[in-house]
Amino acid sequence: MTQVVEEAPAVAPRRSRLTGGRALSIYSWLIIAWLMLPVLIMILFGFNDTPGRYNQTWEGFTLKWYGRVFALDELTKALVISLVVAVLTAVFAGALGTGIGYALGRYRFRGSGTVNLIMFATMSSPELVMGASLLTLFVSLGVGLGATTITIAHIMFSISFVAVVVRARVLTLDRSVEEAAADLGANPWTTFWRITFPIIMPAVMSGMLLAFALSIDDFVVSNFTAGTTTTFPLWIWGATRVGLPPQVNVMGTLIFVGGVLIAVVSSVRSRPRKNS
């Protein structure tokens, strides 16, 4: 009798924990489905055996579009421009943003509050406003629009993202590590390159990846600053009026797979090793 009394409350929470766990797992999968469904559709229609330019109904499985991925010269050219712009953006925004992020995280100087504010203002300001004002700037300066102006614009709006990521890392960096380097005879230059930079490297890398990602699919700012140059997103936008060729899905799939690979590699590498 006493056993039954004791057992009753023990069973009840176990059951509710179980149903709670199942609900959480269903909820999680729904979220994942919601996030991934558009991507899966994009990947799937890269394998669609469609005869013409309309790629909206499933006609059967094929790999032929992977063989003809660079068949459309205009699209290939646009992709190359986008990749070049994105790499340059990642490198320059990475370098400049790291400098700003380090300064903001490490020192309090006259105007540091203002710089901080400007960083967040740039990130939160509408791209339309940014694009329009950049266009005005370039036109009034008499700069011809093209790949160069797109790159400058992309670097400009990416710097803040790199700076914010690096700043967050620097804030959690034990200052005495840098003091220890100085104490052991390293000048500020050596201290930065031998000690600080390797430690904040993961943050710099994720800042640069963020800049790359922001640049390669940017449409609004690029549209204002491109002139007659066509980037990958601009070409797709133009093509939607006449129908998207499956090559777009294939390129999108390849870019997506590249991004996932980078994420997987970096998360495996940053996982702490157990024993040597």
């Binding site: 034990d174 005495s176 590590v177 003091e179 220890a180 380097a181 100085a182 104490d183 052991l184 005879g185 390293a186 000048n187 050596t190 031998r194 000690i195 390797p198 430690i199 702490p272 090793r273 024993n275 040597s276």
Partner: protein
């Protein structure tokens, strides 16, 4: 292993002359260190002891070069280094957080300082091997800091500093993060290593036990000033100020007026049959008000009045008895002032000398009464 050959043994390794440091905090000037004069000899194990905020860490950071003094001069081995940056000073520091380089392994951490000084590769290997043996880290060379225990990380930090054979090694609460057993073990280790390498150690701590165990001399700091500077025995037995008496160990403080002086013993009277005998020192004379410090382990507690009149005697009522294993601590309420604490070693007493509520006699010989500030 000796440091260098051009040393003048009489010249202090570190000298601070009128050094002070002001901070601006919320628009108010805070004096972290006030006109400090200090001289630390070659090869000495010197401790800066005090509660947090007493200025001990700031003092050390001024020696290392991380803080610039507001005024005064810092000399290292006779050279004025007040405005010299840390990377150009011949002292090394062991940080409280160890501050190991997380992306380098133990060996690379230790070799970092020698590499900066462009020491020959083979020489670096030899000296790193030697120092890692001294701190018992042989075989750990390839370990990353995060793969090591707290004690091992502590040794890497120590080796990383010592391998450069600095003029002085500065240690900022280096054992603070270790557990008690390891801390006691490292205290002995540190002292052994210091003897072995013969380098001046400046040790910052708030742990009086640590300072008493390891130091040749201790400077007790409070509110940016040195209250007392002396050997561990001097500081413990003859505290110069009320602060030192209270901070180092447990101390009983008694206020009284000198009633008479017989030979070299001054007598302070309290109630009927009560007296405190103090050795005469300085300009002590009848009528002086004194503050007397008595250590709890020097006092005898008994339910019988002591024989003769050669000892101090106070009477009181036991209010608390706490058994501590090696000793039993009694708190006794007396008429002489605050409650007195008495430690009784359990070596001879099989049971408690008295229980709460018992009337007891407290006695101790004159040399254990120490007048403060005379």
């Amino acid at each position: 292993m000796t440091t260098a050959v051009d040393e003048d043994p009489g010249r202090p390794a570190i000298e601070l002359a009128g050094v002070h440091k002001d901070y601006l905090s919320h628009g108010e000037t805070v004096q972290a260190v006030r006109r400090l004069d200090l001289s630390i000899a070659q090869g000495e194990f010197f401790s800066l002891l005090g509660p947090s905020g007493c200025g001990k860490t700031t003092t050390m950071r001024m020696i290392a070069g991380f803080e610039e003094p507001t005024g005064g001069t810092v000399f290292l081995d006779g050279r004025d280094v007040t405005r010299v940056s840390p990377n150009k000073r011949d002292v090394n520091m062991v940080f409280q957080s160890y501050a190991l380089f997380p992306h380098l392994n133990a060996y690379q951490n230790v070799a970092f300082g020698l590499e900066r000084r462009k020491v020959d590769k083979a020489e670096i290997r030899r000296r790193c091997g030697e120092i890692m043996e001294i701190v018992s880290l042989t075989g750990m060379e390839k370990r990353a800091p995060r793969e090591m225990s707290g004690g091992q990380q502590q040794r890497v930090a120590l080796a990383r500093a010592l391998v450069n054979r600095p003029r002085a090694l500065l240690l900022d609460e280096p054992l603070g993060a270790l557990d008690l057993k390891l801390r006691q073990q490292m205290q002995v280790e540190l002292k052994r290593i210091q003897r072995e390498v013969g380098i001046t150690f400046v040790y910052v701590t708030h742990d009086q036990g640590e300072a008493l165990t390891m130091s040749d001399r201790i400077a007790v700091m409070d509110a940016g000033r040195i209250d007392q500077l002396g050997s561990p025995r001097e500081i413990y037995e003859r505290p110069a100020t009320r602060f030192v008496a209270g901070f180092i160990g447990t101390s009983n403080l008694l206020d009284g007026t000198v009633e008479s002086i017989t030979g070299d013993v001054a007598r302070l009277s309290y109630g009927e049959g009560e007296r405190v005998l103090v050795p005469v020192s300085g300009t002590m004379k009848t009528g002086d008000d004194l503050e007397v410090s008595v250590r709890p382990e020097k006092i005898d507690l008994s339910q019988q009045p002591p024989d003769g009149d050669g000892t101090s005697v106070l009477t009181g009522v036991v209010t608390e008895v706490v058994y501590h294993g090696t000793s039993t601590n009694y708190t006794v309420k007396t008429s002489a002032g605050p409650d007195l604490v008495v430690f009784d070693q359990n070596a001879f007493s099989a049971e408690d000398l008295a229980g709460p509520g018992d009337r007891v006699y407290l006695s101790w010989s004159p040399q254990h009464s120490y007048p403060i500030g005379v």
